[in-house]
């Protein structure tokens, strides 16, 4: 590559990085990136307090896990109290208006310090048993996978990239400052490359940092031993995958939105169209599925967030269950898609002209 081009790309990046990171109109992008981490932090605080509460209840109402698990429906209330002692929390109420008279219902709550056991006693006999586990790594991994794929990638990173990349050219047109670049002896493709790389650097840093913060916030409430065990297993691979997928999302969505920023005045219209296209991915024929960023990203996620059987039809519209290609092919496919979009954008960039008056 021509050394002047490299120097020009570096110069464009130098100017654009500052703008991409510190644009006043881009503050909401940081909120999108760190928003989920805040939610996980609140969750972690809640789980920690809940655990402390259970430990305190266990001390005042000690009970053995095995004995708790041995209780079966049909056990009488007297036997329950004889085996487990007094519950740490008890509710009593009457329900129904039957001919035989209303039912006497008692809710008895016990804990072994880790899980909560709720025994529903109706007319003196245990009728329902509910064990609520404390959060564990497997459970939280599944939650993270779902939030990551359905919220973070499809909404936060997606709209963050709309904000960063659409503004690379459009923002300058609005600020009436694009001529600064267009008057330099620089190929428009080089300008596009410099701006794209600057946007990509900013987006990748902001959103991978967001992913890292989410993982840190989510694992904060686990015992060090649990975290170490997870890391010993698939932990590092999962974390690297999520960070990589986030960066690749910026690569893919960034190329699309830098192109739409060159083609359209209003970024919302193309963004909506792309979002609908991405959402429709599961319903597209195999060949068309590959013309989508989410298709490649989902194949690279370590945990597949499959739809639950009772997921409402409307929500299912957002869920891609595309057949996953191997990781190397997914990465290659995403880069090929990105290159194709950037090539199309560079054709548009060659005809780029300032038209401040009509903005």
């Amino acid at each position: 590559m021509n050394p002047v081009w490299i120097s020009q790309i570096a110069s464009v990046m130098r100017l654009e990085l500052k703008k991409s990171f510190f644009a006043r109109r881009g503050l909401w992008i940081y909120l999108l990136a760190i928003g989920p981490a805040f939610l996980y932090l609140i969750h972690a605080i809640d789980v920690t307090r809940d655990h402390e509460h259970r430990q305190a209840m266990l001390k005042s109402h000690p009970v053995d896990t095995l004995v708790l698990r041995a209780i079966r429906p049909g056990t009488s209330e007297e036997e329950l109290t004889a085996d487990l002692g007094e519950p740490y929390q008890k509710f009593e109420y009457r329900r129904g208006r039957r001919a035989a008279g209303p039912q006497e219902v008692t809710i008895n709550r016990y804990t072994d310090g880790e899980s909560d056991f709720t025994f529903t006693v109706v007319d003196g006999f245990v009728r329902g048993i509910n064990e609520q586990d404390r959060c564990n790594v497997t459970k939280d991994s599944a939650i993270f996978a779902t939030v990551f794929q359905f919220f973070y990638l499809r909404l936060a990173v997606f709209f963050g990239c709309v904000g960063i990349f659409s503004n690379l050219f459009r923002g300058e047109m609005l600020d009436k400052s694009l001529h600064f670049y267009l008057l330099a002896p620089m190929r428009r493709e080089i300008l596009l490359a410099g701006k794209y790389l600057a946007g990509l650097s900013a987006a990748a840093v902001i959103f991978t940092a967001g992913t890292a913060l989410q993982i840190a916030a989510l694992s904060w409430h686990f015992e060090p031993g649990q975290v170490a065990a997870y890391m010993h297993g698939s932990g590092w691979h999962d974390i690297a995958s999520y960070l990589g997928v986030t960066a690749l999302a910026c690569v893919g969505y960034g190329s699309i939105f830098v192109a739409t920023g060159l083609l359209f005045r209003n970024p919302i219209l193309p963004a909506t169209a792309v979002m609908l296209w991405e959402a429709a991915n599961p319903f597209l024929p195999a060949a068309l599925k590959k013309v989508s960023v989410i298709f490649y990203l989902q194949s690279l996620c370590p945990t597949v967030a499959a739809p639950e059987s009772d997921t409402p039809a409307l929500l299912r519209l957002l869920i891609s269950t595309a057949e996953a290609p191997p990781a190397w092919l997914a990465i290659l496919g995403l880069f090929a898609l990105t290159a194709l979009v950037l090539a199309a954008a560079s054709l548009r960039a060659r005809r780029l002209e300032i038209n401040y008056g009509t903005e």
Binding site: P3, H179, L182, L183, A184, P185, R188, R350, N355
Partner: protein
């Protein structure tokens, strides 16, 4: 130089429309080196013409060459062309020096060259004291000068300057005009747009008059004036015998008006044939009529513009 037009800026039947709105239409020009002024009221197409030659907008039809380079080739064009636009927006947060050196860095120069060239350009515009201040805090005049510094920093052969004297105080204005003259004297193209007609008169080697997107006249101002037949030429003659001179001149059929002005110390003549008038004036001088001074009274851009375009343009 690669062709006969290699040293010129040429427009060949160039039109530019913004949707249904006309920018410029069927412009054919060949601009030689020197100071050329684009003159016209708002919306006459001056800025469009400048944007076209600098590649910021593309023609709807026709062809433009700047020293034989197409504006579609910014990699070559912007090395020979510097453009001080009318837009005051710059990348944010930069000082004057950073702005110019950042711009030069886009040319591929190394840091040392950028700093040296930026420093020289800023010095040339007498902006050294403000070089480390943020551009956002600059006054209108300082912004104008820093834009000029950006335009000249890479030593271009063609300078395109959109209203470059706007906002400058009289001293700086005079210095800037001197700079334009110096650059033009070095054989460069200095293409200036202006509303201020007496300034155009002062600085231009040639003018291009624009109205509603059309070029209505181009060339040296006296030449353009001579082409306008329907308005008699006005000549101011100073003499100690103004009354006698006026009556003698009025005998010629090409003189349509002879009026005493300036408290009788001068005669303002209107003639339909300048050549015959000057021959007649020589004859009178040789026959003893004392002539202290002769000066054309309406071969200014202002007059020409008024004749060609009307009141609106010369305001």
């Amino acid at each position: 130089m690669t062709s006969a037009n290699g040293g010129r800026v040429t427009f060949d039947n160039v039109s530019r429309f913004y949707g249904e709105v006309l920018g410029v239409n069927r412009v054919t020009l060949s601009i030689p080196p020197g100071i050329t002024s684009l003159v016209g009221p708002n919306g006459s197409g001056k800025t469009t013409l400048m944007n076209l030659m600098s590649g910021l907008v593309h023609p709807t039809r026709g062809q433009i060459r700047v020293l034989d380079i197409s504006p579609n080739d910014p990699e070559r064009l912007c090395r020979v062309l510097g453009y001080s636009t009318q837009f005051d927006s710059f990348p944010r947060g930069l000082t004057g020096h950073q702005l110019v050196s950042s711009f030069l860095r886009l040319f591929g120069y190394d840091d040392d060259a950028c700093n040296r060239l930026a420093g020289a350009a800023i010095e040339r515009l007498r902006m050294t004291e403000a070089t480390d201040r943020k551009v956002a805090a600059y006054s209108k005049g300082m912004r104008q000068r820093i834009k000029l510094a950006m335009a000249i920093a890479h030593d271009p052969q063609v300078l395109v300057l959109d209203e470059p004297l706007n906002g400058l105080d009289p001293l700086v204005r005079a210095e800037t005009i001197a700079l334009f003259r110096e650059l033009a004297a070095q054989g460069r193209h200095v293409i200036v747009s202006s509303h201020v007609l007496h300034e155009v008169d002062q600085i231009s080697d040639q003018v291009i008059l624009l109205s509603n997107g059309y070029v209505v006249a181009e060339g040296k101002i006296q030449g353009v004036r001579g082409e306008i037949q329907e308005h008699p030429m006005q000549v101011l003659i100073r003499s100690s015998r103004c009354s006698a001179l006026a009556s003698k001149l009025f005998e010629f059929d090409h003189v349509v008006e002879a009026r005493l002005v300036e408290a009788g110390s001068a005669v303002l003549i209107k003639t339909r044939d300048a050549d015959r008038f000057y021959r007649a004036l020589n004859h009178l001088a040789l026959n003893g009529i004392d002539i202290e001074g002769v000066a054309p009274a309406d071969d200014t851009v202002n007059s020409v513009y008024e004749y060609l375009i009307g009141e609106e343009g010369s305001r």
